[in-house]
Symmetry: C2
Subunit: 340 residues, 2 copies
């Protein structure tokens, strides 16, 4: 009967570019890195805390200091361990994900297999990842788009007065498909529908969180009429949210930091598919640790947005890589990390 | 790069008692036993064909003869292999399950772990199994109930004119909780509701498939008013059926032979839970092969009805056992079988 040791430390990700979305700008993202050790095997995890999620390094470390795994005798008691973690409190989803990811990495290493193999998924089926172009000046947008030449799909952040300028600027440089993330930035359903039609003409593939999550009827109205799919991001946190979103959005964006980690994320992808909804797999700015964890689920989803580690300058791991816009999963066990 | 070999042979299960439900009686159940070999490791599977499912040994073997796994290079391509199997035709769910079970047994053996551990489930959380008392004479019912002294819950087959006699006869011998399986036998919702109230007083825990599956509005009417949960059996075959059953029944009965096997069964259990529905895990008369496969999912469900191998006299394997009504999972890899 083994013993678990959970270690954690704060780390600050430095963004390559100032990152601007509809509600704020920033140059760093705080994270907490975790290690879960059991009988000499170490699993790696990570919590990423973009400020709008309401978590901080302090809140995550405070949460992790409360975690006591001494009553569990094996990492294979996964469902019960993660249920225990989840019921510590009602929030701290990123902190919970940092334990879930480390536990799954540990389990994969014990079984000697990458998680995607344990789940029976073919890594060749991961969609090409999108690459995010933040809100910026015309010159900077053109420069960012040119730097992103390898990507088969770009993600643009909309929701300010500059929406059409941004799209037109990108279209002056490239014809690749786009996805548009409005981050709740639009407040009027008729204008949102008009933009959806305009974006469709500009070869935009889907529309993420067009209006505030509280505007449920308006989002449903838009989804019914929109010529491109709508995807819930802020409007979909966890498994329990999904059934009520059928009809409100075409699909959901699953992120480990919102949903407490891989176990629930996998169930969310399978639930959404069962409800005939589309599934997008997203991320925060994260090291290759959390990104490589999320990528294990990539073969289950319709769209992948796994550029988080590409947006930072001080990654600590090598894991999932991107070649010609395609996500390449490591073949090593668990989430497949090596330290840089 | 390995090669798959799929072998199969017919086998006839001999029932310990003549088995009577609302629509028929029988003394044997035809099955087909499968073996899936890959690089010297063999996974075991089984298709069980009670006649009302519309499959036969011939139809299963005809299906299996069409299976060509030569384009797959690894059992870890599970999702794609099972998608290929499923699209061979729209029926033959038991035949498909016989491949799914063998593939999962093989995968567990390759990873050196029982499936419940790979899925992170604690085997101590399997509910006690119910044991089925078929429709019979009063004397035979009393004898069967006495033979079933170890079980914590008994399942009775109702749906004929003898319903109250059966319950009263059992209640003259034992006070253990019962579950009532009507097999679509009732045709009138008011009478069904009256029976539900009467059964509640007799300590019946839930009501399985009270009316024909086509009587959707009537089943929903009953579910809304019934003092005990209603469970869809004939009314729920596969994952895709579940969303529409929310509100029509309180829960669903998942059986590997209906739903093509373990992969879909696990998704069904998780979907039903996400929709806040109850989950029952059932079986056909089967050897310990298919029963031990289903039992791997036991920790996910509310009620287990895994008595299929106990009802036959010529089991070929040792796997899940029942002690004092509790399901005991083997600790060996895959589904954990040894040949008798």
């Amino acid at each position: 009967m083994g013993k678990f040791t959970l270690r954690y430390k704060p780390y600050t990700l430095e963004l390559r570019h100032v990152f601007t979305v509809a509600s704020f700008s920033r140059t760093t993202t705080p994270v907490v890195l975790t290690e879960l050790e059991y009988e000499g095997i170490i699993g790696y995890g990570e919590a990423s805390m973009p400020p709008y999620l309401g978590e901080s390094q302090q809140s995550v470390m405070s949460f992790l200091s409360q975690v006591d795994l001494s009553s569990f005798s094996s990492p294979f008691e996964t469902a019960e361990i993660l249920h225990y973690i989840d019921q510590i409190n009602a929030k701290n989803t990123a902190a919970k994900a940092s334990v879930d990811i480390a536990l799954h990495d540990l389990l994969g290493k014990i079984m000697g297999q990458p998680l995607y193999k344990i789940w029976g998924l073919n890594p060749d089926n991961i969609p090409a990842t999108s690459f995010t172009i933040g809100i910026d000046t015309e010159d900077m947008i053109r420069q960012k788009v040119q730097e992103a030449g390898q990507f088969k799909i770009l993600k643009v952040k909309l929701g300010l007065q500059t929406d059409k300028m941004i799209i037109n600027t990108i279209r002056s440089v490239t014809d690749v498909p786009l996805c548009a993330d409005v981050n709740q930035g639009w407040k009027n359903k008729e204008e949102a529908l008009e933009m959806a039609h305009w974006l469709k003409e500009k070869n935009v593939t889907f529309l993420e969180q067009p209006m505030p999550k509280e505007m449920i009827d308006e989002n449903a109205w838009l989804t019914e009429r929109s010529p491109i799919p709508t995807i819930a991001d802020e409007g979909c946190q966890r498994l329990i949210d999904i059934p009520a979103l059928k009809g409100v959005y075409t699909g959901i964006n699953i992120k480990l930091m919102k949903c407490t980690g891989l176990r629930e994320a996998k169930q969310m992808a399978e639930l959404a598919k069962a409800l005939e909804m589309k599934v997008m797999l997203g991320c925060m700015t994260e090291t290759s640790c959390a990104i490589s964890a999320a990528a294990q689920l990539g073969p289950l989803v319709d769209w992948a947005d796994l550029d988080g580690a590409l947006l930072i300058g001080n990654d600590l791991y090598k894991g999932m890589t991107v070649e010609n816009g395609q996500c390449i999963l490591p073949e090593s066990p668990g989430i497949g990390l090596t330290k840089e």
